[in-house]
């Protein structure tokens, strides 16, 4: 997360470039927006309060000052933390999403600081040995794929970084709960429901490894399973062994084990796997008890409308005239979409894709029945857009971009859309009128008018508007965790006044999805009041609340169909299922037990973990601040790490040393590397077919590489460029000569996943022995020539995938590059274009792609910049670039680099069709520290036409296949083992056949 945010900072709005900052002894707090200043001191207080707590609990001494960034990049709050290479926390300011109570209501800056600092402490706390390696490598090493030895160095300097996500999120969420006095996932109703449903549905509860390899990818809850399972397991351990054991496990001090799993055994006396299994057994027993207790009173029968489980669902909207229910859904294998559920036969009809669906609420949807138009939000994890879908024409239209509003409700009286806007950490009720006075042809295009801004600490969600347009119903929470269902008088809101009628204080149980019936006399919604999400009916006049269900797992998002039945979603272990339930009052509903409750009863010392929300009287920020001003990246630049490296140059082995520098927020990054290759250090692994690689002159022994990034600019310079992966081949990127390049990248369009980048570069090359881009193109005779190369590229991509996907599954990708090299007063130009598009087939995760490319060099003269070369899969046996290199324009599987035939061209056209088969997931393959989680096969065929008057014209086709197997080492280090085979046929030579096998291990992501 932090990396993404920092990328945004670096390349996004230039406003971010001028960060303001305060410093204390322990913290560097940066923010970029004046509007965030109001939380500045409060954030600082929460940070110091949490840090003090963690220092004591974990016996922690920070290795350095922490950098904390306040940001508002998304419409829902989130946090991120790292300690490698520097301690840093990113705090998303927006309110949390309370959908299905997946997040508890409370004071989020307080809880975020408590939570994120656990991550930093778990990563940064060190033993004497760790600190020795910190000194040896001048810091904590980030593993880089360019230098795979860094993975080893990184393990030495930050061993606990190589732990699974459930471990980190589990301990952080568990501590956050008790630091917040019981507010958190360890006491979460949704969490209880997830495991109750798995037991009720007799579904698999993942093992520790299965969770990582399958549970966080094929399950509709995605990566949130790391939180759910992690917190639950911590809760179990705490209940069984006491909370101090948890701390001893996570604490990295002298005498502790490097590996989280080894340390587990040291603390708990038995293996993690064994304890995990015991937890699963305990969980089944625990949930069975709860399920039995629910049977005390008659359970509500949920009658499925379809057998399908829809994953996550939005609030549905009922179309009586068509007997359909409109809902946004998100489940593994399919791109999230707006759907129509045919209530008569349960058919699920796809209406349109939803760009940027949220994991749980998917999209905020509202419905204008009269006009047959659905309104929905996209970019739900970023700044939301408002869109419409016309049910009559099937056309979609984006009405407002980045309007940052969700929880939409439609006012039938004046056709206005109401919603809740999130901006700078605050919620406000906004209204978008149908008509835009400035543009009558563009309904809903005027800026949403703010009707009520809620103060920090109060959030509002799940709104609806009564059919008469007089009442706006809403759930409102405060920072103490209380949540109430309220009625707002709309006439007052129209005058920017607040007139509230309280329906019911649900205390710490959230009132969810309360919606008016068509007659406006009542609302139906749900709440975990009994610990289980049940349906409740509210009488608008009397405000009486009536229970309408006694659910087993949980019922959500009810809609009254008629006097007989209600539509609702029933929670299952595979997601939400559309069901009917009787529209009858139930007399009695019993409650369930919470694991957190019995834990704190058994271990009251958990109460000692509670922290108060710090006040200015307790923590005086003014007295702590040591510096106030701007965050200057240049002034903050330090050595992040420095380490020895091994390099490959031609067919030789060399050694060197690399230094990484940067500021804590990565606005400035530099790497300097120097290496030396002895002439007698021959690489026995290298193939000897290329005679130019067999000799090493004295002027090639020294290698230097400098690269850096300054905002949108990047630069690099190399002398006798060397590369670790040249040790393995067959692709060689090491080159004799000197080159330098400056590149400027500007995002012309950033509407994720849509991106359009402009890249402009200029480079100089001297002493070249080969084409800098194609190893098969020797260019002897140009070693004394200076080439200056100018290039410009437009690159567009709009690639999408579904939950559980391992590759893009549909979309477009294209690029156009123009390049002109000049040398000795002559100019050599070429152009290159590519266009790919793909789509999903009816089978989950199965897609087909068409990839095309064409290029033309405008010069007949032969030099390093006037020809294109095609060959091979392109993967090295040990590699760091993309595993599916056969997709590269200049790859041509089947025709290897060592074949007796090479394709060199001045002009070419190429096309490929590729089938990407569904991945096969491995639930249990390997152990905790080394396992495989999926494999996927692809089948492809391509055709290539080339033209070159100075050599020859070519007509080639090939067909091949590749199998990729993902391997995880130490929880975090991803690698891909690939095996491929392809045949190429020279159509000009009687279909002469060439074949190629490819075996490759791609190290790191």
């Amino acid at each position: 997360m932090i990396k993404r945010l920092l990328l945004l900072l670096a390349f996004g709005n230039s406003a971010f470039a001028q960060l303001k900052m305060i410093e204390t002894k322990d913290m560097r707090l940066a923010y970029y927006d004046f509007g965030h200043q109001y939380v500045f001191e409060h954030t600082g207080r929460c940070f110091h309060s949490a840090l003090k707590f963690h220092k004591k609990l974990f016996d922690y001494s920070p290795s350095e000052k922490m950098t904390l960034l306040i940001q508002d990049f998304g419409d829902y709050g989130n946090g991120g933390a790292t300690a490698v290479p520097k301690n840093a926390i990113s705090m998303g300011l927006s309110p949390f999403s309370y959908t299905f109570e997946t997040s508890p209501a409370g004071e989020r800056i307080f809880s975020m600081m408590n939570h994120e600092l656990v991550h930093v402490v778990a990563l940064d706390n060190s033993s004497r040995a760790d600190r020795f390696y910190h000194k040896l490598f001048f810091g904590k090493v980030v593993p880089t794929k360019e230098n795979p030895l860094t993975a080893f160095y990184s393990f030495l300097t930050s061993p606990r970084r190589y732990s699974p996500r459930w471990y980190h999120e589990g301990i952080a969420s568990y501590l956050e709960t008790w630091m917040g006095g019981g507010v958190g996932l360890a006491m979460g109703s949704y969490d209880e429901m997830v495991f109750r449903a798995r037991v009720f549905n007799n579904a698999h509860i993942y093992s520790a490894q299965g969770l990582e390899s399958e549970g966080t990818t094929t399950d509709f809850q995605g990566k949130s399973n790391s939180y759910l399972y992690g917190t639950r397991f911590m809760g179990y351990l705490s209940y069984q062994h006491g909370p101090q054991k948890l701390i001893d496990w996570v604490k990295r001090k002298d005498g502790s084990k490097r590996s989280y799993s080894s340390q587990f055994k040291q603390v708990f006396g038995s293996s993690l796997n064994q304890n995990w299994s015991e937890w699963i057994a305990f969980e089944r027993g625990w949930q069975k008890k709860n399920l039995d207790s629910l049977k005390k009173f008659p359970l509500t029968e949920a009658k499925p409308i379809t057998d399908k489980k829809l994953g996550s669902v939005s609030y549905p909207h009922y179309d009586q005239k068509r007997n359909k229910m409109y809902v946004a859904i998100n489940y593994p294998g399919k791109i999230p979409y707006l759907a129509a559920i045919h209530l008569a036969d349960g058919k699920i009809e796809r209406l349109t894709d939803i760009k940027g669906a949220a994991l749980f609420y998917v999209s905020s949807v509202t419905y204008d029945k009269e006009s047959d138009v659905l309104f929905y939000t996209t970019d739900n994890d970023a700044w939301r857009d408002l869109n419409s879908y016309d049910l009559k024409t099937g056309k979609t239209k984006r009405l407002q971009k980045d309007f940052r509003t969700g929880d939409l409700a439609f006012n039938k009286k004046d056709k206005s859309i109401w919603g809740i806007k999130h901006l700078s950490g605050l919620s406000s009720i906004v209204r978008i009128p149908f008509e835009n006075p400035d543009d009558l042809t563009a309904p809903y295009s005027s800026t949403a008018s703010n009707k009520s801004l809620l103060p920090y600490g109060k959030d509002i969600f799940d709104i609806d508007i009564s059919p008469d347009g007089k009442i706006l119903s809403a759930a409102v929470s405060d920072y103490k965790g209380n949540q109430s269902l309220l009625f707002f008088d709309i006439d007052s809101l129209m005058q920017n006044k607040i007139k509230i009628d309280t329906v019911f204080n649900f205390e710490i149980s959230s009132p969810q999805s309360f919606r008016f019936t068509d007659d406006g006399k009542s609302l139906y919604g749900s709440s975990y009041w009994s610990g289980v999400s049940n349906i409740y009916k509210v009488d608008v006049l009397s405000k009486d609340i009536t229970p309408m269900s006694n659910a087993t797992t949980g019922l959500f998002r009810p809609i009254r169909i008629d006097d007989e039945k209600l539509f609702a979603f029933n929670f299952t272990s595979d997601g939400f299922q559309p069901v009917y339930v009787n529209n009858n009052k139930v007399e009695n509903v019993t409650s369930i037990q919470f694991l957190g409750n019995i834990t704190i009863a058994r271990h009251p010392e958990l109460k000692d973990w509670e922290l108060p929300i710090p006040t200015p009287q307790e923590i005086d920020m003014k007295s702590l601040i040591t510096n106030e001003g701007k965050y200057s990246p240049w002034k903050q630049i330090r050595i992040n790490s420095a380490y020895p490296v091994v390099t490959g140059y031609k067919n030789f082995v060399g050694v060197g040393y690399t230094i990484n520098l940067g500021d804590p927020l990565n606005f400035r990054e530099f790497e300097i590397s120097a290496a030396y290759t002895p002439t007698n250090w021959l690489n026995g692994l290298a193939n000897k077919s290329d005679s130019t690689n067999l000799t090493l002159n004295s002027d090639e022994q020294f290698h230097l590489s400098v690269s850096g990034k300054i905002g949108r600019y990047s630069f690099s310079a190399t002398h006798n460029q060397a590369n670790f992966y040249d040790l393995f081949g067959p692709t060689k990127t090491s080159r004799k000569g000197t080159n330098a390049r400056i590149e400027y990248t500007k995002s012309l369009l950033w509407d994720a996943p849509k991106k359009l980048d402009l890249i402009v570069g200029v480079g100089g090359f001297y002493g070249l022995q080969k084409s800098p881009f194609f190893q098969q193109i020797d260019t002897k005779g140009f070693s004394d020539s200076l080439f200056v190369n100018f290039d410009g590229t437009l690159a567009f991509s709009n690639l999408r995938n579904s939950l559980g996907a391992v590759d893009s599954e549909k979309g477009l990708k294209g690029s156009f590059r123009s390049m002109t090299a000049t040398s000795n007063g002559k100019f050599y130009s070429n152009i290159l274009a590519s266009f790919d598009f793909g789509f999903q087939l009816p089978v989950k995760h199965f897609s087909v792609w068409f990839r095309t490319a064409a290029g033309n060099s405008f010069s007949e003269a032969l030099n390093p910049f006037t020809r294109f070369g095609f060959a091979a899969f392109g993967n090295n046996s040990i590699d760091y670039q993309a595993a599916r290199r056969y997709r590269n324009i200049f790859s041509f599987p089947g025709l290897s680099f060592i074949a007796d035939r090479s394709i060199i061209a001045r002009t070419f056209e190429k096309a490929m069709v590729e089938f990407v088969l569904p991945p096969i997931r491995f639930r249990e393959m390997g152990g905790l520290n080394l396992y495989s989680n999926w494999m996927q096969a692809t089948v492809f065929s391509s055709g290539l036409l080339t033209h070159d008057a100075s050599t020859m014209n070519n007509r080639f086709v090939n067909v091949g296949s590749q199998l990729d197997i993902k391997i995880i080492i130490f929880s975090l280090l991803e690698s891909t083992f690939s095996v491929g085979y392809a045949n190429a046929f020279d159509l000009n030579e009687n279909n002469k056949q060439y074949s190629e096998w490819m075996f490759s291990l791609k190290l790191l992501r």
């Binding site: 509007g35 109001y38 109060k458 409750n597």
Partner: protein, 355 residues
């Protein structure tokens, strides 16, 4: 970025704050979910969930009031403008936002209302106005509902862009004046606004006497006329207007009526008239309806241009005479007018015993 631009930024901020403040002045969300009653749901056993019984402290968030401004629709619209975003980033803006007076101002509902006004937004871009807006006096003034009402008018917007007006606004006297309902009414007049842009008028308006005058209903009426506007640009008239006697005169309904007359306005621009009007006698004279009637005539205007007549007119006798209807009738006669211009007649007039 130029300092003036930064100032503009600050102004914009003010505007935004104002908008937001107003919006929410009546709509402050003070409800706490905890306040609501929770009496249970019939038939439903409430889940027991541990929750700390320690009372959470109230959150202390400094400067959160400014969010009312920042999240206002108008402000959000402005935020789409790159220049405005640049302004927001400037240290000047940050400094301004820290200013206690600014924050005080931003809380003012009336000012917020003003800031919603398109004209005012336009005005806010003017560097001189930005400079002005920083002054404590302006902050004080901005609390006044009448001034806020005034500031919404397009004419005022035009006026307020001028640097001389900014200078004027810094004077305590003018600030006092500007708070009056009458001034607000006056300032809606486009002609008056046109007048107010002149440097000399600015000088005048700082004068306590003028301040006093401007509060009178009669003067308000008078000042609406285009002719008066033209007059008021005249250096002599501006000089005259500082005179307490003239101020007294100008408050009278008769003077207001007179001032609507083009000829009189033409007359009033002359240095001689300025001199004349300073005398208490003339002031007294001007209050008579007969004289007012007379003064509207082209002949009188012509006459008034004569230095001799001006000298004469300062005398108490002439004042008495001029009140006489017959004299007024006579004065309208072309021949008599010519006569009166002569030095001899002037001498004769001075012989008080003549009657």
């Amino acid at each position: 970025m130029q300092k003036s631009t930064k100032v503009f930024l600050g102004l914009v901020v003010i505007l935004v704050v104002a908008i937001t403040g107003y919006y929410f002045a009546g709509g402050t969300f003070s409800f706490s979910a905890e306040d609501a009653e929770s009496s249970g749901i019939g038939g439903v056993n409430k889940a027991e969930k541990y929750r700390s019984d320690k009372v959470a402290a109230e959150l202390d968030l400094k400067g959160s009031e400014v969010q009312q401004l920042l999240q206002n629709d108008q402000f959000q619209k402005m935020m789409k403008d790159e220049k405005f975003r640049e302004l927001m980033k400037s240290p000047a803006f940050t400094e301004l936002a820290k200013n206690a007076q600014f924050m005080e101002l931003a809380k003012n509902p009336a000012f917020t209302d003003l800031a919603k006004n398109a004209q005012f937004l336009d005005l806010a871009k003017s560097p001189s106005f930005t400079e002005l807006a920083k002054s404590p006096a302006f902050t004080e003034l901005a609390k006044n509902p009448q001034f806020m009402e005034l500031a919404k008018s397009p004419a005022f917007t035009e006026l307020a862009k001028s640097s001389s007006f900014s200078e004027l606004m810094k004077s305590p006297q003018f600030m006092d004046l500007a708070k009056s309902p009458a001034f607000a009414e006056l300032a809606k007049n486009p002609a008056m606004m046109d007048l107010a842009k002149s440097n000399k008028f600015t000088e005048l308006a700082k004068n306590p006497a003028y301040t006093e005058l401007a509060k009178s209903a009669g003067f308000q009426e008078l000042a609406k006329s285009p002719a008066f506007t033209a007059l008021a640009k005249n250096a002599q008239f501006l000089e005259l207007a500082k005179n307490p006697a003239f101020t007294e005169l100008a408050k009278s309904p008769a003077f207001t009526e007179l001032a609507k007359n083009a000829q009189f306005m033409d007359l009033a621009k002359s240095p001689a008239f300025a001199e004349l009007a300073k005398s208490p006698q003339f002031t007294e004279l001007m209050k008579s309806s007969q004289f007012m009637e007379l003064a509207k005539s082209p002949q009188f205007s012509e006459l008034m241009k004569s230095s001799q007549f001006m000298e004469l007119a300062k005398s108490s006798q002439f004042s008495e005479l001029a009140k006489n209807p017959s004299f007024n009738e006579l004065m309208k006669n072309q021949t008599f007018t010519e006569l009166m211009k002569s030095s001899k007649f002037s001498d004769l007039e001075k012989m008080a015993s003549f009657e």
